[in-house]
Symmetry: C2
Subunit: 255 residues, 2 copies
């Protein structure tokens, strides 16, 4: 495997609650004279999955509690937004002006529990926030099954989001949902060119695929929320969900 290509599914419309994303993908590929092929990997932006699944909260309906109001003062965001973040979080990890890092309900350590108002359509009266999918691994598996039903091809599916990092500026695409491929390439027991065992070599290929796709999506997902990756052959390991990427808290020395 010495080459791969990535391309965006063209002309996808703004996704609405209830939309069949798999059908949209198949239709828009067909309209462009393209089709899914065996071995393709689809990377799908979290935001459109959340929207299709109706994971939206109307800000005007949110009653911020005392903790949210107090945190809002520190962070410098609206109390109602903070309340939505808290409602979808297991634990607050760091708070600072402009920064609220939590363990989101599904276990992801990220800013603002992945809650975002950008690219969420207002209804003219109020604003909505999009939460992460309730179970992005299940979402990925369902999208994969639906694509297989529609096309006979079962591509691997990654749902990606943009996360910040502890020691590096800027976000990168990461996988929060995965179906049909091994997210982590455990190379323990493999040997390098000179025979040394690669004892501590685990590569998170799902995150690398998610990051590669983010380059074409653009962070504001300017109409390119679905990327096809073609030519990448994952290692021959059992598929696993993205939650296996989460470092157990007991092994995490940076909380």
């Amino acid at each position: 495997m010495n080459a791969m290509q990535l391309f965006a599914v063209p002309d996808l419309p703004a996704v609405q609650p209830g939309d069949d994303i798999a059908a949209l993908i198949v239709d828009k590929l067909a309209a462009a004279g393209a089709a899914l092929q065996a071995g393709d990997i689809l990377v799908i932006a979290q935001k459109i999955v959340s929207k299709a699944e109706g994971r939206l909260v109307r800000l005007a309906d949110v009653q911020p509690g005392e903790q949210a109001r107090s945190l809002a003062d520190v962070v410098g965001k609206e109390p109602a937004v903070i309340q939505v973040v808290l409602d979808d979080s297991n634990e607050i990890l760091r708070v600072r002006r402009g920064l609220l890092v939590v363990e989101q309900r599904s276990g992801w350590v990220c800013a603002n529990a992945g809650v975002d108002r950008s690219n969420v359509q207002a209804d003219g009266e109020s604003e909505y926030l999009a939460l992460l999918p309730a179970d992005a691994d299940a979402s990925a598996a369902a999208l994969r099954a639906r694509l297989a039903e529609l096309t006979g091809v079962a591509p691997a599916v990654i749902i990606n989001d943009s996360h910040g990092r502890a020691w590096r500026i800027g976000t990168v695409g990461v996988a929060i949902g995965c179906a049909g491929l091994p997210p982590i390439w455990n190379q323990r027991g493999l040997h390098d060119l000179f025979g040394y065992e690669l004892v501590s070599s685990e590569e998170c290929i799902a995150d690398e695929l998610a990051a590669a796709a983010s380059l074409i999506m653009g962070q504001s997902n300017e109409g390119r929320p679905v990327i096809v990756i073609r030519g990448y052959a994952p290692p021959d390991l059992p598929p696993a969900p993205a939650r296996t990427i989460q470092r157990p808290a007991a092994m995490d020395t940076f909380r």
Copy 2:
């Protein structure tokens, strides 16, 4: 920019101290009937840059001090290896069995200061460790200048390494050297599809490019240490070195 492709420069030999990596790349591309094109981005594995620059330490020459011997007991590595890590570090951040996270001399927060014995050739008598390049941004700039001299095309150059993350299992490719492109796409002031300002959107495209290339390199760099990325148009921002990705310690709440 709706598509991009990545391919490995074929048939590169094992790099030796003093080798002209840029000339090797140009030669091997030409032998395969290929050539650099305007807009190409080259991602080059740190290990071959370190080897070409002779950033090698002979283990048998290392006298581990008291701190190294004491840390070696905790971490479970050879004291001489720990000494080499300490010698190339500014600060020790976390220590645990199997884990030594430091701020490496160039400012990168990573395990073992990026020091690695894998893929470093033994001379039959002793083993060598490879350090990170002394200044990987300068290395990237020099490789870019040399490629321009040889071909008339000045590709952007990223030097990548594989780093672990605080909260996620597995390494991903990241940029430790960069020349000819903006590592961070600051999207502040841009607006999303519905007019919301992307107030906290900084995307580290250099790390995403580094991660994408890692997928083809394979982590043991099985003869594919140089990847050409074609078709990706970086944002129209001034180029900057990779060290601008480092989060200043004062802004780092996870040390």
